[in-house]
């Protein structure tokens, strides 16, 4: 069952990027999942990539169920869940591809866990999908988050791992936003939701 149409423009734009790109994907509150799906589905299906999905906005189980609801199998990508450890009983999930980090404040742990997962997978081409900068900004101080994104993006660009960073710009501090604009090589802007 498909509840929305995928944005073909995103898939088209993805054909233009290389593996060492860092893409900032801007979305709004109401279209976040549509934009996420429109970005992730081509990576999984058309480009046959593996990867790591870092979920800081919602628990990984909820994200997986969202994809299952639209008929997309995400069992071969790994999830790093930064939300559920903060909820009592939140880490009891029926998915073996979910890893937990205690808190969104443990930014270095997220980076190391991602590197660990990449070392243990045998995909030829990988992506990292960070969902989302604005969620990390709730917990982390601006300068630290800006510094982190700098390290994060450069680490994966160096390793030729496609970095996709979801962001709701009006919920992101100006310092972080301007740094993100600086570090990312590409921008997919769906920040303005057009109501037909």
């Amino acid at each position: 069952m498909k509840m929305f149409d995928l944005d073909q423009g995103i898939a088209d734009q993805l054909t233009e990027v290389s593996l060492n790109s860092a893409i900032q994907v801007r979305c709004g509150n109401s279209n976040a999942f549509m934009v996420t799906a429109s970005t992730l589905i081509p990576l999984l299906q058309a480009f046959e990539m593996g990867g790591v999905y870092i979920s800081a906005s919602r628990g990984a189980a909820e994200v997986i169920q969202g994809f299952e609801a639209i008929g997309v199998d995400v069992s071969h990508i790994q999830f790093i869940d930064l939300v559920s450890s903060g909820i009592l009983g939140g880490t009891t999930v029926p998915y073996s591809n979910v890893h937990f980090v205690d808190s969104p404040i443990m930014l270095e742990s997220v980076l190391l866990r991602t590197l660990y997962i990449l070392k243990t997978t045998d995909n030829e081409r990988n992506f990292i999908f960070l969902d989302s900068v604005n969620s990390l900004a709730i917990y982390n101080e601006d300068r630290m988050l800006a510094e982190y994104l700098h390290t994060f993006i450069n680490t994966f660009r160096q390793q030729e791992v496609l970095t996709v960073i979801l962001n709701v710009p009006d919920q992101t501090p100006p310092l972080v936003l301007s740094n993100l604009d600086l570090y990312c090589t590409d921008l997919i802007d769906r920040g303005q939701v057009v109501i037909h």
Partner: protein, 260 residues
């Protein structure tokens, strides 16, 4: 495996992800390195990985354990994906209980005098020499030093042991327990270990908004330039993994980083 004392390389490549980069290639051969850390900071894991990586490269390794039984230690080594039980079977990894060693030497007593210390040094050096050990871990030197009552004797013990092991080309990690790894802390319990060691690697925790983040910092390493920055670490089945700690995140809550 190269015989003890004959090396073509000048660095002992630890094999620990990121540590060799920090050390610009590894620990200079024959060094005695103090790995000091608070409880749960990953010192034993670091020591175990150092040995398993060595065994994986064909080096003979020895672990003297005073903090946990050798059986338990060997069970913990199995967590590493790069560990193979053949490393133990073929004699590349050798684990010795300090209690058993004390028993062999007739040192089942609460404190050691000069003669006891010298017979302990001789026993360790003999084992290293006989097996051809090139990597050694003593876990922990703090527990061992508790039995040596005089500071001068501790100094003598560590200096003599370090010197003899260096002569044999054995790179040694002495694990030390400390209660705090903050800026003002000592890197060892007795204060003398840090002065004798060729290198000091500190492991501890940074508290960030109620969460503990493990860190590793190379404070000193003779014979090589090295990074002195704090690195965040994770203990994984692939071993210890490191990444530079965020500069804006390396200060704990008490230093007002969060504007309290």
């Amino acid at each position: 495996m190269q015989p003890a004392g004959q090396y073509s390389r000048d660095r002992c490549i630890t094999g620990v992800h990121g540590l060799d980069e920090i050390l610009r290639g590894g620990i200079p051969y024959g060094s005695t390195v103090l790995a000091s850390g608070t409880c749960g900071s990953g010192k034993t894991t670091l020591g175990m990985e150092f040995l398993v990586r060595g065994a994986d490269a064909g080096e003979a390794c020895a672990h003297f354990t005073a903090t946990e039984p050798s059986v338990k230690l060997l069970e913990n080594i199995r967590q590493f994906k790069f560990f193979d039980v053949k490393m133990v079977d073929s004699g590349l990894i050798n684990v010795f209980d300090m209690d058993v060693l004390y028993s062999w030497l007739g040192l089942e007593k609460s404190s050691f005098d000069l003669d006891d210390v010298h017979s302990l040094i001789k026993a360790i050096v003999d084992i290293v020499n006989t097996i051809g050990v090139t990597r050694l871990v003593i876990d922990s030197v703090t527990t061992l030093c508790y039995k040596i009552k005089s500071e001068q004797l501790i100094r003598d013990f560590l200096f003599t042991l370090g010197k003899k092991l260096a002569t044999l080309g054995c790179t040694t990690i002495l694990i030390a327990e400390i209660t705090s790894a903050t800026e003002n802390a000592h890197w060892s319990s007795f204060g003398v270990e840090e002065a004798i060691a060729d290198g000091i690697i500190v492991l501890g925790d940074v508290e960030r908004m109620g969460h503990l983040l493990r860190f590793l910092q190379v404070v000193k390493m003779r014979g090589t330039s090295h990074s002195r920055a704090k690195h965040a670490i994770e203990l994984t089945p692939l071993g210890v993994m490191l990444t530079p700690m965020l500069k804006w995140g390396a200060v704990s809550d008490t230093h007002n980083r969060w504007g309290a």
